[in-house]
Structure formats: C-alpha cells, structure tokens
Symmetry: C2
Subunit: 261 residues, 2 copies
C-alpha cells in the first residue's frame, strides 16, 4: 500500500481531462522530467462523458473526509475542467442548465475550499479551466464511430456561454481561470474557419463519441490525440503559466525533489 | 486530500523508471486511455542515480505500514527495476557487489511479500525488470554534459551479470521477470555493434549523466527519450505481455473502470 510521500496534482474533468495521459497530453507533461517528477504525483480524475452534476457524487468519493485526512495524500493543486458536456443543448442527456452549471462548479470548488466541508483542505490551490470552443459545422458534418451522423447537440455560442460562466465562477470565487477557450479562439484568429484549421482533429474530442461506448471513445481519443496534441499543448502552456503567476510556490522550479541524493 | 478510489501500479527504480513519464515512456503508456486510465493510478517512484542500497530506506517511506494500511491505496502491481547503477564497477560510488545486489532485490521484494513485514501486502503482484545491456564502447567515447569524458565505470559483461542476478532472484522468489536485457540484446542481433545501432541514443540513459546534477540529467534524459523512445517501447510491450501472461486478472482489458456511467 502506498504512503503519501509526495503531494498530488489532481486533474478533475471530463474526456478532455481523461485524455490527458496521452503522449504530449497535459497530464503527461505535468508528470514528466521537465516538470513535477519526484515532486508531485499527477492523478487523473477525468471521466469521459461526465457533466458537473454526475461528477459531484464521484468527486466526493475521490476526496478524503475529515477523519481520513491525517494519513491521506495532500492535493496541492486541483484543476476543474468542465463545460464541454454540460453545454449540451436542452433535451440531450448531458445538458446542465447554465446557472446550474455555475452552481455545480461552485459546489465542486467549495468541497475543498469551504472550511465547513468534510473534504476541506486548506492547502489545495484551485484552477478552473474553460472548455475549448465547439465547432458545430465540423461536428454536424461528421459521424460517430458507428457511422451515425452527429446530432446537433451542442452549439458554438452555447459552449462560449459556459466558458464565460467558468470565468464568472473564477472571478466570484477568486480562483485563477486557465482560459483554454480564449487561448484557442485567439490562436484561431477568432473565426470559426480558423478554429477548424487548428482543431481539425483535436476539437472533436470536445464532443465526439458521446453517443458511443467508452471503449470506442478511448480509441477515438487516442487516435485524435496522437495526430493532434495541439489542444493539450495549449492547455499545458496556459496551466503552467497560471501556476507560475498565481501560485509560484507550486511552480516546479521552485520545488525540491522529495528524495534527493 | 485524496481518497484511494483507484488501486495503483507502482514503478520502483532508477533513472530508467524516472524517465518513464516522458511521451511514449512506459509509465505514460500504462496510464493512458488504451491501458489503465480510470482503472489503476500509475505512480512513478523512479529515482535517478539510485542503486538498490540507497533505495531501501526510501522505499520504506513510500509504503504504508501495517497500522496505516486501512486507509491506504492498494498497490496491485509493483515493478522493481534495478541493476543499471548497481553494476557500476568496484571503486565507483554507486557500485553494489553482485551478491549484495541480489540480496537487496530480495529484500525489496520481501518488504511487500513477507507476511511478517510491516509493509506486507497480500494483494500486490510483483514484476522484476532486468537492466538494459550497457554499451561500453559508446560510453567511453562520449562525454558528460560538462564535456568531461565518461569514466569507464560500467562494463557490458558486468551489467549482464546483474541482469542474470535479476533473473535468479525472480526464479528463487517465483516472480515474473520482464527481461529487458534479453529483449534488447535479441533485437540487436546479439552483437554490440547491433546494440549501438538500436540504442544510439536510448542506451545512454543506462548510464549517462550520473556524474552531473539532477537538472542536467533531466535535460539529457528528456532529449534522449524524445529522440529515441525505443527502450521504453520494448519495456512497455514486455511488461504488458508479462502482465497478460502471469497476472491476467490485472490485464487492463480484464478490469472494469472504477466509475462508470
């Protein structure tokens, strides 16, 4: 059984987080030699297909309660990355209304931030991440792995509203926001056509495969990410930049290795 | 603080293990979508520069003691990969005599396997990994990052003896051995020239940089692994093959995701 010799970075989210262990994914890059190896463990709690509502009872199980904390591994840094599924349009299974999405995000935050929470941790720094822009034109032109055309179950503007809600929760809760939506949108020249160019594979992972089984989804994601790790590059660079700016004490260059020789 | 919702794969070793989080490294490949994501966490306990002797007191800290185990994360699979540093020649700092190396490996094994050990875990399956072949000709022709020629501090035949010792410990302790030494040697056509060809970059990580600082070493390793992930490919394929053969209940296809929807 493991002892908590290294503190942890925990990545909470949907398929965008789950895919973070692919080569050049943001989990892999955080874990590797040039970042947190021998400093922090990186723990991936990405659940493909999940929205914030389904995550709450799962995240409760992922955290140590007050009476278990003395022997538990400290989470020094927690990223919360949702919106891609919550922004599914009304009537679709994953849809969470915008205000409820914001309330759920706040609830996830307060599970570790509120001193009265049974999962409270004074030492955990949080970062919120916005969902990437959704390219509806590309989406409806495609099919899932079973060859069935995608439903128009998401919308560029709607996902943008959910990204904005993430920013608002960040502002009201005073939590840094890693703005993947804005970073990608700017890189794409703020046009949907530009977005298509930059996210020709990677953007699909925002939505693709939600109607297929997990195993198929895994195969799709792996394939996409292998061909286009661009999204993750942006996420990693943005996240590391935010860590350096907002929590420099957790920036890897400012940490010692746990065991030195 | 984390709760132990997922069991763990723990990778114990030297720089060969520490580098496992690089893109296409064996830790990354174990962790990702096509293997253990949402099934087991992968925990890297690779310590570059370490031999078995220095590892023992560190590994003791990495494991939960009997009275801490009720709330600790289960280690379902433990790889122990040493020899590359222990095989340093007598007179050099990292040298561990061959018999002592075998005894140390056995001690590491029994820390989790011996029911009287305070770190005993009945549910942990172990795998030993042999060090890769050492290419002495390439080594002495090179320099470290400070431009200083490498000392002849290791030897092909000596490292081969340490690989053999790993096999012997595996046989006597009835633990599967992931024979990276033999796999690479066979792929290289069982010639040192062939070895040079296949390991022109990757083999260096067996020994390179042990006289330089950790930061420099990290840079070297990253660079080498980016250019040549060959060693890791072999390690991953050999390890997954061994898991499938010896502990099929731990093969990823035979595991359910912890949280499904």
């Amino acid at each position: 059984m493991t002892a908590p010799v290294q503190d942890a970075i925990v990545l909470l989210g949907d398929s965008l987080t789950q895919g973070g262990w692919e080569a050049h994914g943001f989990a892999q890059r955080l874990a590797c030699e040039s970042a947190y190896v021998r400093k922090f463990d990186v723990i991936n709690r990405g659940f493909s297909g999940y929205n914030t509502e389904w995550t709450i009872p799962v995240f409760e199980q992922c955290l140590a309660r007050r009476n278990e904390q003395s022997s538990a591994q400290k989470i020094r840094l927690l990223t919360i990355w949702y919106g891609a599924n919550d922004a599914t349009l009304p009537g679709f299974r994953q849809h969470i209304p915008l205000e409820k999405f914001g309330a759920n995000l706040t609830r996830l935050v307060n599970m570790v931030r509120d001193p009265s929470s049974e999962w409270f941790s004074s030492e955990t720094k949080l970062f919120l991440i916005t969902p990437p822009p959704f390219n509806v034109h590309q989406w409806v032109a495609g099919t899932n792995s079973a060859g069935v055309p995608h439903e128009r179950d998401r919308d560029f503007k709607v996902t943008a509203e959910y990204a904005q809600k993430v920013r608002e929760v960040g502002a009201s809760e005073k939590i840094p926001v890693v703005d993947v939506w804005r970073a990608l949108w700017n890189i794409a020249g703020q046009t949907e056509r530009g977005l298509t160019k930059y996210l020709s594979d990677g953007l699909h992972l925002t939505g693709e495969g939600y109607s297929v089984g997990t195993k198929q989804l895994s195969n799709i994601l792996r394939d996409l990410l292998t061909r286009n790790p661009f999204v993750f590059k942006v996420v990693y660079e943005e996240l590391i930049g935010a860590i350096k700016e907002y929590t420099p004490e957790l920036y890897y260059e400012n940490l010692q290795e746990v065991f030195v020789k």
